[in-house]
Symmetry: C2
Subunit: 462 residues, 2 copies
């Protein structure tokens, strides 16, 4: 390895091994054997060939911000870093594309294109530290998903190293391309298990000219859920439709001190962008809907500074909650958006049933909730109850027509639950694909597919 990348790019110290033994997910830790920082695709190719021949696992890792234990080296081997592949390669203003290396920070891409009046919509809460390569591997979402979709909707093509060391090019600067199977989309969200992405071409949009932000308060979760449903069925698709429950609002306010009301049951943060006239009109309609549904207060952000404060408050929800207890387990249950209120009620019922602390926030417009369990890994008894509670949350989500993960990925953490969503037929199909593309199972092994599936609990709500 040192011959391939130079000894300065190979780490084997205990300190380094510990640093890369875990990611942002609580409770998952495995030591890698070596941490390597290649400088280009050719070096990655050489590394992969060595690993392929010797059946050594490779775990590609951006900033390790993922929340599903997607970058834990659970079978040891190589952690592959992208800190040297951090260049923006080309902005093409005629074709509205940007080509980047995977190690570029998401926020850097967003700001770079906004300076040219262009727009890269996916904005995961971790965007200030996450890498674009990590986003692509996880198919990250964000706060603007309702109107603009998720990462996969913006990936036009990639360059990637396959497990046999061959280099694959998919897609291009093309609005349309149906030449064979959609390998681009297969790689996006494959969590580093099918190939190592070394270059990404992203689609851009024109930057919206106007934006408006409001914050609405409700006395019950049901009312907030009703407001979400009614906004959408009135044929308005806001950019952002975010939800925080009372517990979350309280800690966020304590953390940020921006004057959020801590006595309401639920808050919706709503944003719309577009042309000024349309935005004004739609935000007026949205305010009316919220009032009619029974919002207790509706605040409009006076300027971009205030709006950004509100967004930041929402983005900081996880960090704020994390201060309450030693261990934070963030979930990602996602349901059809019409089921949001019902799902929040289920989460609260489950939280009571198992006597565990769960606060919920998330992307209400997408039906994508983040029930967050605040607990303590060291307390075995409590952790047992937490596990039961999370199982039941996943189950509730599936029963409502939802999924076990909306934007965080399966990783090591949710692998035992995957079959609940995709069935044995789905898992077998995915395993066959994995086997066909990475026959030695060297690319991020132990992710997505678990050794065994969790048994579904028989729930008796009566």
């Amino acid at each position: 390895m040192k011959r391939i990348v130079g000894k300065e790019n190979v780490q084997t110290s205990n300190a380094a091994k510990i640093s890369y033994s875990f990611d942002a997910t609580a409770g998952f830790q495995h030591s890698p054997d070596v941490i390597i920082s290649p400088e280009n695709a050719e070096q990655i190719q050489a590394i992969v060939k060595v690993c392929h021949e010797n059946k050594i696992p490779i775990v590609p890792r951006g900033s390790g911000t993922n929340l599903a234990a997607g970058t834990t080296p659970n079978e040891g081997g190589v952690v592959l870093l992208f800190n040297h592949l951090d260049k923006i390669l080309e902005l093409d203003e005629e074709n509205l594309t940007i080509t980047v290396q995977p190690g570029v920070i998401t926020q850097e891409v967003i700001e770079y294109v906004e300076n040219k009046d262009l727009f890269y919509p996916p904005d995961p809460s971790s965007k200030k530290i996450s890498t674009i390569g990590g986003n692509v591997n996880e198919n990250s979402g964000g706060l603007r998903g309702l109107k603009y979709g998720v990462t996969k909707d913006y990936v036009l093509g990639v360059k990637a190293v396959l497990s046999n060391g061959e280099i694959l090019h998919t897609g291009g600067k093309l609005a349309k391309d149906v030449a064979g199977y959609d390998l681009t989309n297969l790689l996006v969200g494959s969590e580093g298990t099918l190939a190592i992405i070394t270059e990404i071409t992203l689609k851009l949009l024109p930057k919206p000219t106007y934006k408006k932000t409001i914050l609405t308060m409700f006395d019950s979760l049901e009312l907030a859920g009703d407001a979400v449903s009614q906004i959408i069925s009135k044929k308005i698709i806001p950019t952002t439709l975010e939800f925080m429950d009372q517990g979350t609002v309280r800690v966020v306010e304590e953390f940020n001190k921006i004057g959020l009301p801590t006595d309401c049951e639920a808050i919706l943060l709503i944003e719309q962008d577009g042309s000024e006239e349309t935005v004004r009109e739609e935000m007026k309609a949205i305010s009316n809907i919220c009032s009619q549904v029974g919002a207790t207060e509706i605040h409009e952000a006076e300027d971009e500074y205030q709006a950004e404060q509100l967004r930041t408050a929402r983005r900081d929800a996880l960090s704020a909650l994390a201060r309450l207890r030693p261990t934070t387990i963030l979930e990602d249950a996602t349901v059809p958006r019409s089921k949001i209120a019902e799902m929040v009620r289920e989460i609260n019922r489950i939280s009571d049933k198992y006597d565990v602390m769960i606060q919920t926030f998330g992307h209400a417009g997408d039906g994508n909730l983040h029930p967050t369990c605040l607990t303590d890994l060291r307390n075995e008894k409590e952790m047992e109850r937490v596990e039961h509670a999370l199982d039941e949350i996943f189950q509730a989500s599936i029963d409502l027509g939802g999924t076990i993960t909306g934007e965080h990925g399966v990783g090591e953490m949710k692998a035992p639950y995957l079959e609940w969503k995709v069935g044995k037929t789905g898992i077998d199909l995915m395993k066959n694909i994995k086997q066909a593309i990475d026959p030695h199972n060297i690319l991020n092994p132990g992710k997505i597919f678990a050794k065994s599936t969790k048994k579904r609990v028989v729930v008796n709500n009566g």
Copy 2:
């Protein structure tokens, strides 16, 4: 088979075999052994199991409107029809989804949702006869692709029968879902080679409230190409940005008699939708750009009737051109949109070089062109020149960073060219996926993958 679907749903007459021996693609014909019309997914499952055991090919076929010989039974076997699976199952206005069977006509879906002020954007030119299942299998595009994307952008989930007879459910009414590999997107555009889709859930949008249509004329292809580039780089994304060259305009006018000017070199049909104010503003900006670039005329459709006439004229381009010569071969070369003018020039050069008649129209905004070769299959010498010309068009497209097919698919017709776009690495990967999912190769065999790749011509333009 008669036991499974009843004898009234099994055809083996010579007349039937001939009817289903070809599709809308000239020059490809193979007889099936039997034509079967199942009534539900369970019958399809039973048919597939029989075929799997006996290694009998199955060719799923909607209306057979595809233009890449995607539904030709080139290894005989079963042609599977969806005429009984033609129901709209559910419109969900809260989640903005519609669930349909694959045999529903595309136009029926479009009209059904528009009656509820909702919007299903993909609108292939064949929408009045094509089925939604065909669209999904081919990942069809259309005239609104520039702003709204293609079929895959609207498929949220499918129910499908795998080659082993198992039933797979993917996705759901979910805005976000990252539970494992994106099987939905893998099946969309897989041309019936990976599974038989029996149910589809589609995403809908609110119907735009206002629409405006203009027609602009240019004295040269370059100027039309410049106008396209400038509109996009001014950060305006029209719904529709369609191109027709002079030859196409002439036959379309002869066919439709709606008063298109037949003396200009190129026409752009431009549409925008959205809120009235924004549409008016952007269409004014577009008109200004076209004038500055040097448009000789700009006509605004006075009402929806006139606008629909213009759209219909463009949609009828293929039918109109088809009247000129006995055989019509429609191509689907797609380039980055900044290369449109260059690509049209290349097509004209190639047309002259081989002395074959090629007229070009297409989706300029997507870089998706349809060079259409008017010829006569019975004239062997001419057909040889046509083949060389088409080879060189594909090559030009690839050399400009484009692809061999933007929206029609690979089918049997373009299989020998696929490697030019995706490389040997790409083809091998796709073949591995096919082998993993359909090991007996019973699902639409002979499509996408050719026995051998066309040799690339060495072009000397000097």
